[in-house]
């Protein structure tokens, strides 16, 4: 009996060593405090989120709450992520979607690899898709779509750059065109050396040095016109991959963005 007990303790200790605590999230990846999904929907979503998180080595989390109670969506989402110990690798990588029903607000908080995978443009893309589902009340679809999009962006980020073969045809044609233009310039310049007879158009070399006298030099202001053009609202530079990052109350860097539905 004593032997059996010590064996069980040994097995438990080994298990604890093989799965270090830090690598396992303490909280579930779907927290439905607002009670939006049925039990069946919740189970299948949780299964999808767990599966995805393991394969991507980044926690994909969905949190619904009845109300923010006056808190900022960004702070709430960041703190929820930090306080519940989400994040699988050393960077605490993960993406959290917070939905606050009373305010009709959502917020996507990114951490670690989640920040690099989702730039501002990607966050707003995901946000607008999710918001359109949320506003029509299709909550399960919204969260599944969120998981799919996170999967897509994390995969794209993790994928090694596709090895390209040397585009020799393309380069040869461009080299040839540039070379033709350069050769033409050089030969035309060389040809121009053969011609040394030109008409003179000025008498600049016959000006008496210092004879230029300016008796009147007046700059008269007449009128001015101001034209104004509205500045483009959507700064196109964001599209190419800018990412805004802030630091949460617990000192962890988060990215992300949110909006209303």
């Amino acid at each position: 009996m004593k032997r059996t007990l010590s064996l069980i303790i040994l097995v438990l200790l080994c298990t604890a060593l093989v799965f270090p605590c830090g690598a396992v999230s303490t909280a579930p990846r779907f927290v439905d405090w607002a009670g939006l999904l049925s039990a069946g929907e919740a189970d299948s979503l949780l299964y999808r989120l767990d599966d995805l998180s393991e394969s991507q080595q980044a926690d994909i989390v969905v949190v619904t709450i009845p109300s923010l109670n006056g808190a900022w969506a960004q702070d709430y989402a960041d703190d929820f992520y930090d306080d519940n110990g989400y994040g699988l690798d050393s960077d605490n990588s993960g993406i959290l979607l917070l939905v606050a029903m009373a305010e009709g607000e959502y917020y996507i908080s990114t951490t670690g690899r989640g920040i690099s995978a989702l730039n501002d443009h990607a966050v707003s893309e995901i946000g607008s898709e999710v918001a359109s589902y949320l506003s029509s009340g299709r909550y399960a679809d919204a969260f599944i779509r969120f998981a799919d999009l996170c999967d897509y962006y994390l995969t794209a980020e993790a994928a090694p750059p596709v090895p390209q073969s040397f585009p020799w045809q393309h380069n040869l044609v461009i080299s040839l065109v540039i070379a033709l233009v350069l050769a033409l310039i050089v030969t035309v310049v060389m040809k121009g050396k053969l011609k040394s007879v030109h008409r003179a158009t000025t008498a600049a070399s016959y000006v008496n040095p210092g004879s230029m006298k300016l008796t009147v030099s007046r700059d008269m202001f007449l009128y001015s016109q101001v034209a104004r053009h509205p500045r483009p609202k959507d700064n196109p530079s964001n599209r190419s991959g800018g990412t805004s990052v802030h630091v949460s109350s617990s000192g962890v860097s988060h990215g992300g963005g949110g909006g209303h539905f």
Binding site: A200, A227, R228
Partner: protein
């Protein structure tokens, strides 16, 4: 005051001021004071087309263009005054400073570094003729008085949160002043190509001396057959351009400047008649005559040369191949 059409606002004072500027404008005036210089003295004009050599007494009969040559009997340089009978006596002459050898050497130098010059042309190099010639030039001295008005704009732009602003300020710029020119040359010989003569400029008139027939000895000399009035057209356009350029250079700091009106008038103008030294070299190649001219004072030699078309083609394709290889090689290195 507000424009009823475009809502632009003007200051009353500015308008009045601008109006007074507009009223003071004057038309261009290019008047040359071409009072004739001295005529030949009776003494100078006494010898006609036949000439007795002062040294050996031999008789030389020159053709119409010949004004200075060497006596065929004794080699003494002579000047045939008959050519100048009835025309103006030159005011000045710039004596030749460079001799025939220098002219031939300058031509050799001229051939150098020109890869498209047919090699045969260089090697055969049959210079048919080398002539030292005093070319008649009209020399224009004048002070150009100019009143030029420009319309200029200055553009300033700034932005706030919602708008980009562009402010365009319009200005009227007035420039008046003068610029003086000394000895703007225009060749007075119809046989001389104007572009050839203009290409060997400039001549340094500070080295000019009062005309003496002795300077002509040993050289050919032409007399003018284009009047000062006819040549003036060319000098005028050059003076106008240089004056315009000089005043335009005083306008700075604007985004755009457009001349609106300009009035350039010549004052205290004077035309002088001078003989300037030019070496002329002729060569005939493949039935075409190539003429080179060298400034007998400064040694500047000009003249168009024939093009070796096959060399041009060779170089063009050779360089294209070379540049393609370099570009392709570079693109490969960068790709790696």
């Amino acid at each position: 005051m507000k424009c009823p059409y475009c809502d632009t606002e003007f200051e009353m004072e500015t308008l009045a001021d601008y109006d007074s500027v507009l009223q003071n404008e004057q038309p261009d005036s290019f008047q040359w004071d071409s009072t004739p210089s001295e005529n030949w003295t009776v003494d100078e004009a006494s010898g006609l087309h036949t000439y007795s050599c002062q040294s050996c007494g031999g008789e030389i009969i020159g053709d119409e263009t010949l004004a200075a040559t060497a006596c065929p009997y004794c080699g003494n340089p002579v000047v045939m005054m008959g050519q100048f009978t009835g025309s103006l006596k030159p005011d000045l002459v710039i004596p030749f400073k460079l001799d025939k050898k220098a002219a031939v050497a300058a031509l050799q130098q001229h051939y150098r570094g020109k890869r498209f010059l047919p090699k045969v042309f260089k090697d055969e190099n049959h210079i048919q003729e080398v002539k030292g010639l005093y070319v008649p030039f009209w020399l224009f001295d004048a002070r150009a008085d100019a009143d030029i008005r420009y319309r200029a704009t200055r553009v300033r732009s700034w932005s706030d949160r919602d708008y980009d602003y562009t402010e365009t300020s319009y200005y009227a710029l007035m420039r008046s002043g003068s610029l003086s020119f000394a000895g703007v040359p225009a060749d007075g010989s119809s046989k001389m190509a104007d572009d050839l003569m203009e290409s060997i400029e400039p001549f340094d008139l500070s080295q000019a001396v009062d005309f003496q027939t002795a300077y002509l000895a040993g050289y050919l000399a032409d007399k003018f057959d284009v009047s000062a009035e006819q040549s003036a057209e060319n000098a005028n356009s050059r003076i106008r351009q240089s004056t315009t350029d000089a005043f335009a250079a005083t306008v700075q700091g604007y985004s755009s400047v457009i001349p609106e009106s300009s009035s350039i008038r010549l004052n205290s103008s004077r035309v002088r008649y001078g003989l300037l030294p030019v070496w002329l070299l002729n060569t005939v190649w493949k039935g075409e005559t190539y003429t080179f001219a060298m400034n007998g004072q400064t040694g500047k030699l000009v003249g168009n040369l024939p093009l070796d078309k096959s060399a041009f083609t060779r170089w063009f394709f050779g360089l294209t191949g070379l540049f393609t290889a370099i570009g392709f090689g570079l693109s490969y290195l960068l790709w790696r």
